[in-house]
């Protein structure tokens, strides 16, 4: 049975209530948007509140999550990975097995249903980086018979070509964004411009826990199904170790899989929450997307409607980021992560491209699971974690998506030809 989303508001309080009525997570968050969009955001706040209390809506969403998305996603004990490290037991929350191959569908379907059922809007715009959110949105729109336009940077379109084709197959119009860095940040700007222009009949289906209020809280609530399921599965001896994990690890781009995973554990003080950012070519190289790890470029700022840590130059211009993973290649991070970090409730580290690729390979070989390059950052950080945990600890990793979309990128980086050949010699 799918975890009911009723529980969403119950764990809503850690210390004080976040976000507050103005959409602030302490000093982070808010609504830094053109006035044109304020009415749409107010409307969204209303329907989000209404939807969460509306039994028919909840029943319909839960039923779709169960019968269409395939929830609950399994919790897998990673036996060979555990043996590989010879340390704590490692469990994987398998969002890669959700329909469309990543956690993004939880949010896309929730928002699309909300907007269709309660607002009656029939046109959706979305941004996408890796293409997973775009595919999830296109899927939700196909299912609910809505018009769908996805904005995607030209760089990302090139490196995630299979997902572009998938979106088009699903009936979405993919619009190429060739301004700025031609990646996620520019796709978000372009989606917002479309929304400003077409706001009466269009919903902006933002894919991560960022942007203006109420997006960070709405996306977190819709994604917290990940953590609620995982927590229950960990606690039940039939599906997990029969206890809470000591450490939870998730990759953080905008931070939606991480906040969805962390949130239900926030009130469990014994559970360490660890977010892994994209370290790209390393912090010194300035080619990365590690907002928390770079004290020079990563500073408090305002981007795309929210106040949070932002990679920027000395003059407040948004920095060009780099990550091998398109989904983590973004200059800012969801405001709730910034708060969790301030309160020392969650810790944030980073993984370089190289470490992520090592994690990618490791999971393929040890578990027979090809992870998304985003999720590979969480796996890639495990070697670092090992020095910091004891062997009777239990570690839970959020495997946010699968790696089919990344094969081209990985092929170019790993040149596995050598390996395949060398292995062939022994068979």
């Amino acid at each position: 049975m799918v975890d009911q989303i009723d529980a969403i508001f119950q764990a809503d309080d850690y210390g004080v209530h976040y976000p507050d009525s103005r959409g602030r997570f302490g000093p982070y968050g808010g609504k830094y948007v053109p006035e044109t969009l304020i009415p749409a955001l107010e409307e969204l706040e209303d329907i989000h509140a209404t939807a969460m209390q509306d039994e028919d809506f909840r029943t319909e969403l839960n039923s779709l999550l169960e019968t269409y998305v395939g929830r609950p996603t399994p919790l897998t004990y990673a036996k060979r990975l555990t043996e590989h490290f010879g340390g704590p037991e490692i469990y994987l929350k398998r969002e890669d097995l959700a329909h469309t191959g990543a956690h993004k569908i939880n949010n896309a379907l929730g928002q699309a249903l909300m907007v269709k059922r309660i607002l009656g809007k029939n046109r959706v715009v979305a941004e996408t980086g890796a293409g997973q959110h775009g595919v999830a949105t296109a899927t939700a729109c196909a299912l609910l018979d809505m018009e769908c336009v996805v904005y995607m940077g030209s760089v990302d379109m090139a490196r995630q070509a299979p997902n572009v084709f998938r979106m088009r197959l699903l009936g979405a119009e993919v619009r190429e964004v060739s301004s700025g860095s031609q990646t996620l940040k520019d796709a978000i700007s372009e989606a917002i411009r479309d929304w400003v222009t077409n706001v009466p009949d269009t919903h902006y289906l933002l894919g991560s826990a960022l942007g203006p209020h109420p997006y960070p809280v709405m996306v977190r609530n819709l994604q917290s199904v990940i953590g609620r399921e995982a927590r229950r599965q960990m606690l039940a001896p039939s599906t997990g170790p029969g206890r809470l994990p000591d450490v939870v690890v998730a990759c953080v781009g905008g931070g939606s899989n991480a906040i969805g995973m962390f949130y239900p554990f926030v009130m469990d003080p014994g559970v360490r929450l660890i977010g892994v950012e994209a370290g790209g070519s390393g912090i010194e190289s300035q080619k990365h997307a590690a907002r928390f790890a770079d004290p020079k470029m990563g500073r408090l700022g305002v981007l795309h409607g929210t106040r949070s840590y932002v990679l920027q130059d000395e003059d407040g211009q948004i920095a060009l980021t780099h990550s091998i993973s398109a989904g983590l290649d973004y200059a800012s991070v969801g405001p709730e992560h910034a708060l969790l970090r301030d309160r020392e409730r969650a810790e944030y580290f980073y993984c370089t491209d190289e470490q992520a690729l090592a994690g990618f390979e490791l999971l393929c070989r040890q578990e027979g699971i090809i992870p998304a390059l985003e999720s590979a950052h969480a796996v890639g950080w495990l070697p670092e974690l090992m020095s910091d945990v004891s062997s009777d600890d239990v570690v839970l990793v959020s495997l946010s998506g699968r790696g089919d979309k990344d094969l081209d990128t990985v092929m170019a980086e790993l040149s596995p030809g050598d390996r395949v050949q060398s292995k062939a010699q022994f068979t």
Binding site: E35, G180, L303, H304, Q312, I318
Partner: protein, 272 residues
């Protein structure tokens, strides 16, 4: 900056707009990005627009992610960034214009992050020193504007908030009560950019905003020629023009084109 001028920035803006107030007249308020097409040319173009009858300048500060701007201004401010324009350079441009004897009020038009990064208080202080009279920040609604308002109040500078066709009665009340200098009424849903015609609902929209306030109401987004400026003048207190001037500046005879378009817009706005 007018060193001996006892007026505050808010008063200078109000007075410049009041000079053009009338049934068929309005202030002509050009927007121009500093550093476009080059630093020196942007100064020269603003000087020529001052001669052509501009009543107030909105001096654009470039930003890497201008989400309220259409393609024309996106491209222009991107070029300004490539030209190396910094926040400090934009402040210097105002200073240069003041030194050249330009007396019209200046509003700095910037997205919030560069201001926040500079330090809100310090930015307002330095902008006042450079000769600015107020600020227009498209991604800073009153909900998030307290800090900036406080700094502006202290310096006597205006913080202009915006309204849009989508604004509810509550938002109109909030914005008109908090906006200083004038209220910037965005004429259409969408981003900045020249448009073939102004929307039919504009007259009612302006009337609705004006009904509850003494603060002047100026209309921008999509105003691009003398006829449209005249139509705005017949209903509002100011006509704001950006993209059309930027487009004019971007040709081989940019300076001449800007000057002649500015004359046409001024004639339209000033009712002759």
């Amino acid at each position: 900056m007018n060193g001996n001028d006892p007026m505050t920035g808010v008063e200078r803006i109000r007075s410049a707009i009041a000079k053009r107030q009338g049934d068929a007249t309005a202030a002509f308020m050009p927007y121009f990005p500093s550093g476009f097409p080059s630093r020196s040319e942007s100064v020269a173009m603003m000087r020529s627009m001052a001669d052509a009858g501009a009543d107030l300048f909105e001096i654009g500060f470039p930003f890497s992610d201008p989400l309220a701007d259409g393609p024309t201004i996106q491209a222009a401010t991107h070029r300004a960034l490539l030209n190396g324009m910094t926040t400090r350079d934009c402040l210097d441009i105002a200073r240069e214009l003041r030194e050249a004897g330009i007396t019209q009020p200046f509003c700095a038009m910037s997205y919030y992050n560069p201001i926040f990064n500079y330090g809100t208080d310090r930015f307002v202080e330095d902008a006042a020193q450079a000769g600015f009279d107020g600020f227009i920040i498209p991604d800073l609604p009153p909900d998030e504007g307290e800090e900036m308002e406080e700094a502006c109040r202290e310096a006597g500078l205006a913080l202009v908030y915006l309204l849009a066709p989508s604004s509810s009665r509550e938002r109109i009340e909030l914005v008109t009560s908090r906006s200083t200098g004038f209220v910037y009424l965005v004429s259409v849903l969408g981003t900045t950019g020249a448009r073939a015609s102004l929307p039919d609902y504009l007259t009612d929209l302006v009337a609705q905003v004006r009904a509850g306030t003494d603060t002047p109401v100026c209309v921008g987004f999509g105003v691009s020629n003398g006829v449209q400026a005249a139509r705005v003048a017949s209903i509002a207190d100011g006509a704001i023009v950006g993209s059309a001037l930027v487009k004019a500046a971007d040709g081989p005879d940019g300076a001449d084109a800007v000057k002649s378009l500015a004359r046409e817009l001024a004639r339209g706005a000033h009712g002759h």
